[in-house]
């Protein structure tokens, strides 16, 4: 049975990875699961310089979901290169580095710094709803998606995945813009902007007022967007948004995702990725699927 997939020349032993920001750089979850099992590790977003992130509370629970406004706290790309890449290189898994920035120059600087390192792919976060500058502002306008994709592609030594925001009227427009800009792949969805109010204290549950909604509750939106994008562009898709079980992951694959990422579910059950990997194989066996490629995007 083949579960290997290849995106932009990078071969993944299976189509299961983690969603950026929910897994750190793997060290913590590595105490609970065998990182060698994963198709890839996608790291927490990293910028050209350290970011302190937002004040707390940074998260709030919602029905079948959660809001986060971490604000892309990160140690900066220097520390990342020195500490996190060597850590991840110990494992037989691919490394995808999620990159964030406030300006195009920030992104490009980080991408260039990563150029000579041993990372396999870059995932560009132009869809974070929790920072004032950069992030989502880039990701909601097709023109700026195309521009930033181009600027990054001009300097990137590794294949580039553009991570799209679901907070748009028509996600196929930003997807096409990323394709036009030369993206090698797309990942979707990032979180949906949400808000929770603490009615007893009559204030926002998050210090940042709004946060990004993730988790099983948003899965139907994510599956719809993956389906739309898969039928609109010719790029491989990493699908995510609420994946908690192998069945969820298979929904994304049938809708058109070549890979899937587990995010919020890691918090609920740290073994989710492993269960998803095993569950996809069970499903393939049960449905007599020899090669995972024969089910990618077959629901039309």
């Amino acid at each position: 049975m083949n579960t290997k997939v290849t995106i932009a020349g990078v071969e993944f032993k299976n189509p299961v990875t983690v969603a950026s920001g929910t897994f750190g750089s793997g060290a913590e979850y590595g105490e609970l699961i065998d990182l060698n099992r994963l198709g890839a590790v996608v790291t927490k977003g990293v910028a050209n310089i350290p970011w302190p992130g937002n004040p707390t509370p940074r998260i709030a629970e919602t029905c079948s979901g959660m809001l986060n406004a971490i604000g892309l706290q990160n140690p900066g790309v220097d520390v990342f290169i020195k500490r996190d890449i060597p850590f991840l290189k110990q494992f037989d898994t691919k490394i995808i580095v999620n990159v964030c920035g406030k300006t195009t120059a920030d992104y490009v600087e980080t991408v260039e710094r990563l150029g000579d390192t041993d990372v396999d792919m870059l995932e560009i976060n132009i869809s974070c709803p929790n920072v004032k500058e950069g992030g989502i502002a880039f990701g909601q306008n097709p023109k700026s998606v195309e521009d930033i994709t181009k600027a990054i592609k001009a300097k990137a030594k590794q294949p580039v995945i553009m991570k799209l925001s679901p907070n748009v009227t028509d996600i196929t427009e930003t997807a096409r813009a990323a394709e036009a800009g030369g993206a090698d792949a797309l990942s979707l969805i990032n979180t949906l902007t949400g808000m929770k109010i603490d009615i007893e204290r009559q204030t926002f549950a998050l210090a940042n007022k709004t946060g990004g909604l993730s988790g099983p509750g948003i899965k139907p939106i994510a599956v719809r967007m993956v389906y739309q994008v898969a039928n609109a562009v010719n790029l491989p898709i990493i699908g995510m948004g609420g994946i908690r079980t192998a069945s969820d992951a298979i929904e994304f694959i049938l809708a058109g995702a070549t890979m899937v990422a587990v995010g919020t579910a890691n918090f609920v059950n740290p073994y989710t990725t492993i269960e998803v990997i095993d569950g996809i194989e069970d499903y393939m066996e049960r449905h007599h699927v020899d090669d995972i490629h024969s089910i990618i995007g077959i629901v039309k």
Binding site: G21, T22, F23, G24, E28, Y29, E31, L32, K44, P50, W51, P52, G53, T56, P57, R58, I59, A60, E61, C63, S64, G65, M66, N68, I70, Q73, P75, G76, V79, G215, P216, T264, N266, F267, V268, N269, P270, Y271
Partner: protein
């Protein structure tokens, strides 16, 4: 030390005071290494509630490989836990965090308020020195005080004055002229701030346990940070992760 997530069995549950429950969980090997000041994440059986509820380890029974938690019902998650009956199952992850650094000589002062009191029990059991234990409650709905008496001199403060000193833990400390070589504390932030100030004033080493909303519970998501005095070695900003670098900090390390 290895963290595990597992489904465990409730051995026993009992109400201690209004909205305060005590529950023993048969956690197997998780009990072998659990230390005072560490916590466990308890998960809801309702699949609409995703995030773990961090609850301090109140007592460890290594022989029966069990952990005791004492918690207050404040929302849907703790409400759900309060209905668990012996024999029922619940998912937990742990042991989490670092725990208190035990100083076995001299005199220890344990200062805790409200639902910060539970970790003091396992701590008191493991501290082999003279102990004064100051407990703050809102009113006469006290809990764990008599159990703590087995391990040290217990002083109580209540906001309404119904038991012990009227006021807060600092009032009780002053009233009884308590001092120590080391302070261990857990409770609401205003109390910790006062305890920290007191420790600084008296130059007493002081460890405090902090609280913040958590998602992963193991240091990966950066939800639960507190401000640290110095740039933190892991995060490279002035943020420490309460779940991983804490919940116990040297009072001087963190800003409250």
């Amino acid at each position: 030390m290895s963290i595990k997530k597992m489904t465990v069995t409730v051995n026993y549950q009992k109400k201690l005071a209004k909205d305060v429950y005590s529950m023993w969980l048969a956690v197997g090997s998780m009990a072998d290494e659990a230390k005072p000041g560490q916590f466990i994440s308890i998960y809801s059986n309702d699949s609409s509630r995703l995030l773990p509820r961090p609850i301090s380890i109140c007592e460890v029974d290594r022989e029966f490989r069990s952990i005791r938690v004492v918690y207050r019902v404040v929302g849907a998650g703790t409400e759900e836990f309060s209905h668990l009956k012996a024999g029922q199952r619940v998912s937990v992850m742990g042991p989490l965090g670092n725990g208190y650094t035990l100083k076995q000589e001299g005199r220890a002062l344990l200062v805790a308020g409200g639902i910060g009191i539970p970790p003091m029990l396992e701590l008191a059991k493991n501290l082999d020195c003279e102990k004064d234990i100051v407990l703050g409650y809102k009113d006469s709905q006290t809990f764990l005080a008599s159990e703590l008496e087995d391990y040290g001199n217990v002083y109580i403060a209540t906001e309404d004055g119904s038991v012990g000193t009227k006021g807060n833990v600092m009032d009780a400390i002053r009233q009884h002229g308590l001092t120590a070589d080391k302070i261990y504390s857990c409770g609401p932030t205003p109390m910790l701030r006062a305890v920290k100030d007191f420790s600084v004033e008296k130059s007493i080493e002081c460890e405090i346990s902090l609280e913040e909303k958590m998602a992963c519970g193991i240091g990966a998501c950066l939800a639960c940070v507190c401000k640290s005095k110095d740039v933190d070695a892991h995060t490279h900003v002035n943020n420490k992760r309460i779940c991983k670098d804490g919940p116990v900090f040297n009072a001087l390390e963190v800003e409250l």
